[in-house]
C-alpha cells in the first residue's frame, strides 16, 4: 500500500465549507488510490465545474479540470488515447446529470473503462442553493421557494436501464463502504458509476447527515448484482436508497477495445 500522503498537495487552500461532505470523499478517494498502489502519474482525474469538481485540485495526480458538464467526453478521450492510465471522471450531480446529461447517457452506451464518481448532494452549492436534477420533490430552495415540483432524476435506474456495466451508490459518511466501492469501480473493466450521497451543510437543510443515515440501507452480502430485474426494482425504490453495488455486467464490450493502439511516446 502506498503512503496516502503521496497524494497530498502541500499548502492547499481548500475552498469547501467546514463540514462539507467533499472532505470525506477526498479522504476516501486518497485511501482507495493508496490501497490500490496507484502512482500519481498513472492516475488522471477529470472534473467539470462545481464544488465537487474542485476535488482534483486537492489530490496530487494528473488533473484535467475542464468545463461544466463535459467531464465524461474528456475522460473518454484520455482513456481511448492511453488505456494504461486510470481515468476517473469526478463531478457533482448538476455537472453530471444536468449540464452533462447527454454525455451521461452516451458514455454509458460506449462503456469506456473509466470510473465516474458523482458527488450527489441534491443541490447546486457553488451557485448558492438552487435545485439540482436530484433534489427531492417539495424541497424548498433559494430559487424553488414554493418547493421543487418536478420529479427528481434517478441516476441509478437510468444507468441500469442503459445496461451500464457497473452501478453503485454509497453515502460518504460510510468510510469503509465508500473506499471499497471506489476500489471495486477502479478494478472493474468498463464504465463504473458511483453515485456518492453527500450533504451540503450550507444550502441543503433537508438532506442532512442524519437524513442520509435514516433513508439509506446497505445491500446484504448475498445480494446478486448481476440480476438486472432485481437491480432495477431496487433502483426504482426511492423510499429507502440502497447502497453498494446495485448492478454489475462484466460481459459488456469496452469502448477502447474497438480502437487501434496509438504510439504516444
Amino acid at each position: 500500500m502506498l503512503n496516502v500522503k503521496l497524494y497530498d498537495i502541500p499548502d492547499s487552500d481548500i475552498a469547501w465549507c467546514p463540514g462539507c461532505g467533499n472532505f470525506g470523499i477526498l479522504n476516501e478517494l486518497k485511501s482507495a488510490l493508496s490501497e490500490l498502489n496507484l502512482q500519481p502519474n498513472q492516475v488522471v482525474i477529470v472534473s467539470g465545474i462545481g464544488q465537487a469538481a474542485k476535488m482534483p485540485q486537492y489530490i496530487n495526480v494528473n488533473m484535467f479540470n475542464g468545463l461544466h458538464g463535459r467531464t465524461l467526453p474528456v475522460a473518454t478521450g484520455i482513456k481511448l488515447v492511453n488505456p494504461s492510465l486510470t481515468v476517473i471522471a469526478e463531478s457533482g450531480d448538476g455537472c453530471t446529470y444536468g449540464e452533462g446529461g447527454n454525455h451521461f447517457i452516451h458514455t454509458i452506451r460506449k462503456n469506456p473503462n473509466i470510473v465516474n464518481l458523482v458527488h450527489d448532494n441534491m443541490i447546486y452549492g457553488l451557485t448558492k442553493g438552487q435545485a439540482s436534477p436530484t433534489t427531492p420533490k417539495g424541497v424548498v430552495t433559494s430559487l424553488q421557494f414554493d418547493g421543487v415540483f418536478v420529479e427528481p432524476f434517478n441516476p441509478i435506474s437510468v444507468a441500469i436501464a442503459l445496461n451500464a456495466s457497473f452501478v453503485a451508490r454509497t453515502f460518504m459518511g460510510y468510510n469503509d463502504l465508500t473506499v471499497d466501492l471506489i476500489k471495486q469501480a477502479i478494478q472493474h473493466r468498463g464504465y463504473a458509476l458511483i453515485d456518492i450521497l453527500q450533504p451540503c451543510v450550507t444550502f441543503n437543510k433537508f438532506n442532512t447527515y442524519q437524513w442520509y443515515k435514516e433513508n439509506t440501507y446497505i445491500l446484504p452480502d448475498d445480494y446478486d448484482p448481476t440480476d438486472k430485474n432485481a437491480a432495477f426494482e431496487i433502483a426504482m425504490n426511492t423510499e429507502k436508497l440502497a447502497l453498494g453495488v446495485i448492478y454489475k455486467n462484466s460481459e459488456k464490450a469496452v469502448y477502447e477495445d474497438f480502437q487501434p493502439k496509438i504510439k504516444l511516446f
Binding site: V44, G66, P73, V81, N82, I262, L264
Partner: protein, 558 residues
C-alpha cells in the same frame, strides 16, 4: 467545334440517379486518358429527387476553377434544362432522351434508357452515360473498360460485365455523334492523383500525424470524418462518433491532453456548439485542430451550398482573449499542406488551429501531380517531479507534458491557474498568465504562412482573397492578361502575416473578393492595418463564383 483547350461537360439529374457515379467514372477515365480534369458538384438537401448537377472540365492545361460555360449538357431528367437555362448558350450541345431535349437548338437525342434496357436493366443508364461521354472525349477504350471494372469491383462478375457492356455501347454511340474534341493529351497525367477536397484535408491530417478524430456528422464536413474513418485501420486512427458537437470537441481536447493529435470536423452550426471548448483549449493551452467546413448560415442556412461566412465565427469563437491560428486553403495541395501544418502548429503553440474550407472546395475534384512535403514535428516533453505545466517562459510557450510520460503529473485547469496548474485568484498571477498566453501570438506571427502573390509584381490593382475563392479569381485574372493587376491570396487569414502590409501599401487600388455579404476578411484587414478596404466584390447566393462572373466584375473595378 469546341475550344481546343477546355471542354465543359455538365451532367444534371435527380438525386439518386447516379450522377455521382458518372462523375467518379468520367473524371478517372479522362485523367487516365491523359487529360487534366476538374469536377465540382452542387446538390439539393435531399436524398432522392430534386435536381443536382456536376460540372466536369476536360482540359489540356491545369483547370481548378468552376466556370459557367457549358459545352455539353447531359440531361437525365425533365427539369435539368430549366434549372441551368442561364448557363446554356446557343453553342451548348444538349444530350439526353428525346423527350427532354426536343425543344433545344443543339439537341442530341440519345436513347440512354433504351441502351441501358438493351443490356438488361435501366440501372445501367449511368454506365451508358459515362460511355457516351468517354466516346466524345476520345478516351482510350481499354482504359474505359478498366475504370468501369475497378469502379464496380465489389459487385459480382456478372454485374461488372454488364456495366462494361453498357459503357461500351455508350462509347460507340458517343463516337458516332461525331462531336470533335481536339484536346491534347499528356501521358504523364496518368500518374497524377485524382482526389477531392475532403480527401485532400484527410490525407493532410494523416500527414500531420492525426491519430484521433471525434465528430458529429454534418454536411459538408462529414466527408472528412468518413475519409479518416476509412483510413483508421491502415494509419492507426482512433475514431469516435460523438453524441453531439460539444462532446466531440471536448473529447478531442482530452485526446491531445493525453498525447494524441486530434481533429474535429464540423460545419458552422456544429462549430457554434464547440465554442466553449475552443475557449477551454485557449485557457488550458491544450491544442485542438478544427476542420471547419463552411456552408451558408445563419442557423441551418443552405445545408448543401457554399459560402465563406464563418471567418468571424472562427476568429471570435470562445470567451476571453487567447491566441489562435486560422488557415484557409485555396485548392487541394494547400488543403493537404495546411491541414498537416495545423497539427504541427497546434502542437508547437498549444492553441486552437482552424482549417477553414467550404462545400465548393470539399466537393471539387482535380488531378494533383504530387503532394507538398510536410515534416512532422512533435513538441512534448518528459516530465519530472518538479514539472510545471504552465511554466512562465520567454516566449510564453511552456513545455507540454502528457500524463504517464515521465514521473511528474500534468495538471490543467480551466480556472485561472498558477504555473503548476493550481487554481488561483491572485491578480498578480492572473495578469502574468494572460500575458504568457497572449505572448505566443508574437511567435505565431513570426512563423506565419505568407500570402501568395500571383500576377505582375508591379501592380496597381491588387485583388485580395482567401480560401477557395482564390483559385477562381486567379483564373479570371489570367484570362484578363492585364499587367497592372495582381492577386494576393491568404492561406493564413489569422493572425495576419507581417509581410501583408507591404503588399497592401503598394497597391493603388485594393479590391477584396469574398463569398459572404460583409467582406469578413476585408474587415479584419481594415481593423488590423487601418487601411481603406471599401472595394469589395461579394457573393452569397450559395453558389461559388464562376470564372466568367468574376472576370466581368474585375473589369468593372479597373
Amino acid at each position: 467545334m469546341f475550344s481546343n483547350e477546355t471542354l465543359s461537360i455538365v451532367l444534371s439529374g435527380a438525386a439518386g440517379q447516379g450522377i455521382q457515379t458518372v462523375e467518379k467514372l468520367l473524371t478517372k477515365i479522362a485523367k487516365e486518358s491523359g487529360y487534366y480534369v476538374f469536377a465540382t458538384k452542387e446538390y439539393m438537401s435531399r436524398v432522392r429527387g430534386g435536381n443536382n448537377s456536376t460540372e466536369i472540365l476536360i482540359s489540356s492545361k491545369p483547370v481548378m476553377a468552376f466556370r459557367n460555360k457549358i459545352d455539353i449538357l447531359v440531361t437525365l431528367n425533365n427539369n435539368s434544362i430549366d434549372r441551368l437555362r442561364n448557363r446554356i448558350s446557343n453553342k451548348t450541345f444538349i444530350l439526353g432522351e428525346e423527350a427532354y431535349v426536343k425543344n433545344e437548338i443543339n439537341k442530341l437525342p440519345v436513347p440512354i434508357l433504351q441502351l441501358a434496357k438493351d443490356v438488361g436493366n435501366p440501372i445501367y443508364a449511368n454506365s451508358v452515360s459515362s460511355g457516351i461521354l468517354s466516346g466524345i472525349i476520345d478516351a482510350d477504350l481499354e482504359i474505359v473498360k478498366k475504370c468501369v471494372s475497378d469502379c464496380f469491383s465489389t459487385k459480382n462478375p456478372e454485374i461488372v460485365k454488364k456495366n462494361i457492356t453498357a459503357t461500351v455501347k455508350g462509347y460507340n454511340f458517343g463516337k458516332s455523334l461525331n462531336l470533335r474534341v481536339n484536346i491534347k493529351k499528356n501521358p504523364k497525367i496518368k500518374n497524377h492523383y485524382l482526389i477531392n477536397g475532403s480527401q485532400a484535408v484527410s490525407k493532410g491530417a494523416i500527414a500531420g500525424g492525426c491519430n484521433f478524430i471525434s465528430s458529429y456528422p454534418m454536411s459538408p464536413a462529414t466527408a472528412v470524418f468518413t475519409e479518416l474513418a476509412k483510413a483508421s485501420k491502415e494509419y492507426n486512427i482512433i475514431v469516435d462518433q460523438a453524441e453531439d458537437e460539444i462532446a466531440a470537441a471536448n473529447m478531442v481536447i482530452g485526446a491531445w491532453y493525453a498525447g494524441a493529435r486530434g481533429l474535429v470536423s464540423t460545419s458552422g452550426g456544429g462549430f457554434a456548439l464547440m465554442t466553449e471548448a475552443i475557449s477551454l483549449s485557449g485557457m488550458i493551452e491544450t491544442p485542438i485542430v478544427v476542420h471547419l467546413a463552411q456552408r451558408p448560415g445563419p442557423a441551418t442556412g443552405l445545408p448543401t451550398r457554399t459560402e465563406q461566412g464563418d471567418l468571424n465565427l472562427a476568429l471570435y469563437a470562445g470567451h476571453g482573449s487567447f491566441p489562435r491560428i486560422i488557415f484557409a486553403p485555396s485548392g487541394l495541395d494547400e488543403a493537404y499542406y495546411l491541414t498537416a501544418q495545423a497539427f504541427n502548429y497546434a502542437d508547437e503553440f498549444q492553441v486552437p488551429v482552424f482549417v477553414l474550407t467550404d462545400q465548393y472546395l470539399l466537393d471539387s475534384i482535380y488531378n494533383v501531380e504530387k503532394f507538398p512535403n510536410v515534416e512532422l514535428t512533435r513538441h512534448i516533453v518528459k516530465t519530472d517531479e518538479n514539472y510545471k505545466r504552465y511554466e512562465i517562459t520567454e516566449d510564453g510557450i511552456s513545455p507540454r507534458g502528457i500524463p504517464g510520460f515521465g514521473t511528474g503529473v500534468v495538471r490543467v485547469d480551466s480556472d485561472e491557474h498558477d504555473e503548476y496548474g493550481h487554481i488561483t485568484e491572485s491578480s498578480e498571477v492572473r495578469t502574468k498568465m494572460v500575458n504568457k498566453r497572449m505572448k505566443k501570438l508574437d511567435k505565431i506571427i513570426e512563423k506565419s504562412i505568407e500570402p501568395v502573390l500571383y500576377g505582375h509584381k508591379d501592380y496597381d490593382y491588387l485583388f485580395v482573397s482567401w480560401g477557395s475563392t482564390s483559385l477562381i479569381l486567379k483564373e479570371a485574372l489570367e484570362n484578363l492578361e492585364n499587367n497592372r493587376v495582381a492577386l494576393l491570396h491568404f492561406p493564413q487569414v489569422y493572425p495576419l502575416p507581417k509581410s501583408s502590409k507591404k503588399y497592401f501599401k503598394k497597391a493603388k487600388k485594393l479590391i477584396f473578393v469574398e463569398q459572404n455579404i460583409t467582406g469578413q476578411f476585408a474587415d479584419l484587414v481594415k481593423q488590423t492595418y487601418g487601411i481603406n478596404t471599401s472595394k469589395r466584390i461579394l457573393k452569397y447566393d450559395g453558389f461559388p463564383f464562376s470564372v466568367e462572373e468574376l472576370t466581368d466584375k474585375i473589369k468593372g473595378e479597373l
